[in-house]
């Protein structure tokens, strides 16, 4: 199973993924035109922050089974079996927002979409960049991320990386209280300063 894996500690809050997402879902798919389109495209990934320095790129997990799919009364949500993506049929969406109530991650937002003629705001959640996936490309948010906070790949491979990293640190620490961090020391120092400020 392929997924977008989030490594929160690597997110620097640049929101580049948000911009790339909005551009990808716009009509022209071009930065300078995206924001002047009739129904401007908005990000479907959301970078939220805590304590003014920690951030988390929150994106649809394309759950299986997906709570949003299960509760949708009009079957507006469906699964693309080839990629595992949960997709929305905008025409079927009745704006009841029950999907958003069921979503454990709070990632659903209602927006006007250019695919509909009317101005109804419908569930415009992440579509996993299914068009790009069919062309063998990775999702736009992952491509935009330059810190490795978002990675696309086989879920077990990505978990294995985390596991290997943890194993290495556990062994290197040799029972000391503080295990060696995989984070560069200057970045750790920066985060420590920001933590101090947040706790003043």
């Amino acid at each position: 199973m392929k997924t977008v894996f989030v490594r929160q500690d690597r997110c620097v809050g640049c929101r580049h993924c948000e911009i790339a997402c909005a551009v990808e879902h716009s009509e022209n798919k071009e930065l300078f035109q995206t924001f002047s389109e009739e129904k401007p495209s908005h990000p479907r990934i959301h970078v939220e922050s805590v304590d003014n320095y920690l951030s988390f790129p929150n994106r649809c997990r394309h759950c299986d089974p997906a709570p949003c799919m299960q509760v949708c009364p009009t079957r507006a949500l469906s699964r693309d079996e080839a990629t595992g993506s949960v997709l929305v049929s905008y025409a079927r969406c009745i704006q009841c927002s029950v999907c958003a109530m069921a979503c454990p991650f709070g990632i659903i937002t209602f927006q006007k979409v250019r695919e509909l003629e009317s101005d109804r705001e419908v569930n415009a959640k992440c579509d996993n960049c299914i068009g790009r996936l069919s062309e063998g490309r990775i999702p736009a948010c992952v491509e935009a991320c330059k810190t490795g906070a978002l990675e696309f790949g086989d879920v077990n491979d990505l978990i294995r990386e985390t596991r290997a990293d943890l194993t290495m640190r556990l062994i290197r620490s040799q029972g000391q209280d503080v295990e060696p961090s995989s984070m560069p020391e200057n970045i750790r120092a920066f985060k420590a300063v920001m933590e101090t400020i947040a706790n003043l």
Binding site: R10, C11, V12, G13, C14, R15, V47, E48, S49, N52, Y53, S55, K146, T147, G148, M183, P184, E185, N186, I187, A189, F190, V193, M194, T196, I197, L200
Partner: protein, 629 residues
């Protein structure tokens, strides 16, 4: 937010001072947007920018480096993280040095025009200082008229900005040992504009890529500011408007008046605001104010224009940078007059919620939505009168139902120029040195800089100052830091009760506060001159003295040259907000460790003011022990 207890809690989170809290609560209640709201809306802020690893210099970019050590590790041009981080730092620092120094240039220009008889309302006030500085420039003073001396001095100072002389006269005031270090490492400033222009050249793609070389030039550019542009700003302002002498006045938003025409003078340059002080004394305008129903004209300062006026004329000071929107939100301000630097572009929008008129005055700093009355030296006093009249005309528009002025202003003692501190000590620094040698005073720390919405307003300044004086460390302050401590009651001789026994005894003997207000941010040059005189008296360099610097709440690019000329002069400096350098281990190591081998000082980053005091005290003790005391 509508629940009063939530509003109060938020106000307490944002600011330390109770009068600030009161108006913050009013602003929240009335839906007035302030910097704190905009800061929250900006979260999360881009980590590439905060770490300094984003390069937006040329059109091949913007480029950014993966701070976790992966790809991309270089910009399109091939610049690595050290080059990008150091270049960005030099860029920000040069902006700050330019701001101080261009301010300085304007004061020299007015000195020249005053000497030539072209300036309306200006005169040479401190002839003694004029002569003293002129002599440093090798200008004959005996038997000459002040105007003649001033003209020659002003022309000599304007030459400091160019690139022909290759040295800056006022920088010669530094002790020989300090100057020798500058010479050895090639960082002696050659000309004020020259260093800034060369910095911009080096930042261009494909010029300087060596982070050490870039940072050395940053030090030279900073020195050209502190020992050049800023120092010239201080000296010429003193010559024109008088060297500050100790005086008492008032601080906080409570300085606004319920029944007088309130005019807030905000910004950095005293040139026009000193004329407004003169204009407000005009009997006709005073009479006009009463005709409009007011009991008089109440001038208050804000930020460094406020500090300049407080130091020389005892004009009360309403607040520091985060108070600019709050002053308007009292509903009691008829006019806010601004020159430049640290003026929120949002000010006209805030003013639009009340009757306040915002008046811009500098051709360099226009803000849409304000009334523009251009300052020019030939018509300065007339313009000042026009501004006062505009404020008086606006008084009847004040809506008393929307006015709230917080309780009582805090008394402050200010006006501690270097000359006056020396005078208070009996003419030389010997008594101060004796007190330091005896351990009565352990050392001196300069607390400077701004407010930052990341830190509770004034908390960093006030907590650090209290910690230091408790440890018998004398504190000298400028800028927003001084205003913070003024609001907190630390600029009073009575505050000596909060000091350790040694410092308390010295303060009581001299009748001075344990925290001395030395002026505006360009007046950090006064601290340099004071350090230099003490070092010369002892025959050492500034780096040998038990001194420290701190900028607990800095935000401005101007704080970068200040911190850097402190460090380059030998003063260990602690920053409360991380500079945008944490993306590069090498840059951090050089600035926090490597410099110790050059200037016997370095930077540290520590937001916690108590821990910051620990660092400063340890450094002071290290230098004391190296001096054998």
């Amino acid at each position: 937010m509508s629940n009063p207890s939530d509003i109060r809690k938020e106000a307490e989170r944002r600011a330390l001072d109770s009068s600030d809290q009161e108006i913050i609560a009013k602003a929240i209640d009335e839906g007035i947007e302030t910097a704190w709201d905009r800061f929250a809306l900006q979260q999360p802020q881009c980590g590439f920018g905060q770490l300094g690893v984003c390069c937006n210099n040329c059109a091949m970019g913007p480029c950014r480096i993966d701070p976790y050590g992966g790809k991309p590790s270089h910009g399109v041009c091939g610049a690595n993280v050290d080059t990008i981080v150091s270049r960005n730092l030099l860029d920000d620092l040069s902006v700050g040095a330019a701001a101080h120094s261009d301010h300085g240039r304007e004061v020299v220009e007015v000195l020249l025009e005053t000497a030539e008889g072209k300036a309306e309302g200006y005169q040479i006030t401190d002839e003694e200082k004029l002569k003293r500085v002129a002599e440093e420039y090798g200008i004959t003073v005996a038997g000459r008229k002040p105007d003649e001396i001033a003209k020659e001095l002003a022309l000599g100072m304007l030459a400091e900005f160019g690139s022909v002389k290759n040295y800056i006269q006022v920088a010669e005031r530094a002790p020989d040992k300090t100057k020798a270090i500058w010479k050895e490492f090639g960082i002696t400033p050659r000309g004020i504009d020259r260093e800034i222009v060369e910095a911009l050249h080096r930042i261009h793609m494909g010029v300087d890529a060596d982070f050490v070389n870039i940072l050395l030039h940053a030090m030279r550019t900073a020195l050209a500011d502190g020992w050049g542009g800023s120092m010239i700003a201080t000296e010429c302002s003193d010559i024109l408007f008088g060297t500050p002498k100790p005086l008492t006045s008032w601080a906080n938003l409570g300085t606004l008046s319920t029944d007088k025409v309130n005019v807030v003078l905000h910004g950095h340059n005293p040139l026009l605001s000193e004329m407004i002080v003169q204009a407000a004394e005009d009997p006709e305008l005073r009479k006009y104010a009463t005709e409009k129903g007011a009991k008089g004209i109440n001038l208050v300062g804000m930020c460094c224009t406020g500090n300049e006026l407080l130091m020389r004329s005892g004009i009360p000071i309403a607040g520091n940078i985060l108070d600019q929107e709050l002053a308007i939100a009292t509903g009691a301000v008829e006019a806010m007059v601004v020159d430049y630097q640290c003026i929120f572009p949002s000010i006209p929008a805030t003013a639009g919620c009340y009757h306040t008129k915002v008046v811009t005055t500098s051709t360099k700093a226009k803000i849409p939505g304000t009334q523009y009355l251009e300052f020019s030296v030939e018509t300065a006093l007339s313009t000042a009168k026009e501004i006062i009249k505009l404020a008086i005309d606006n008084y009847p528009n004040r809506n008393p139902d929307r006015v709230r002025i917080p309780g009582k202003p805090m008394k402050v003692m200010a006006g501690f120029s270097e000359e006056e501190i020396r005078k208070a000590l009996g003419g030389t620094y010997k008594p101060l040195i004796d007190a330091i040698v005896a351990g009565q005073i352990k050392g001196v720390v300069g607390i400077v800089g701004c407010n930052h919405p990341r830190i509770k307003q004034d908390y960093g300044h006030v907590t650090l100052a209290k910690e230091l004086i408790k440890r018998d460390i004398l504190v000298v302050e400028t800028g927003c830091a001084a205003i913070a401590c003024g609001k907190a009651g630390l600029l009073l001789p009575e505050a000596a009760d909060l000091a350790g026994p040694g410092l308390k005894a010295v303060c009581n003997l001299l009748g001075i506060p344990p925290v001395l207000h030395m002026g505006s941010c360009v007046d950090n040059s006064r601290i340099l001159v004071m350090a230099s005189m003490v070092a010369k008296e002892l025959g050492v360099g500034i780096g040998d003295l038990p001194l420290g610097g701190a900028a607990p709440e800095w935000y401005s690019q101007k704080a970068l040259p200040i911190g850097t000329y402190f460090v380059a002069s030998g003063v260990y400096t602690v920053l409360g907000i991380p500079p945008k350098i944490f993306g590069s281990k090498n840059v951090i190591n050089l600035l926090t460790e490597g410099l110790k081998g050059i200037t016997n000082s370095a930077f540290a980053v520590e937001p916690d003011p108590v821990k910051s005091a620990d660092l400063l005290e340890a450094e002071i003790n290290r230098k004391r022990s190296d001096l054998g005391i």
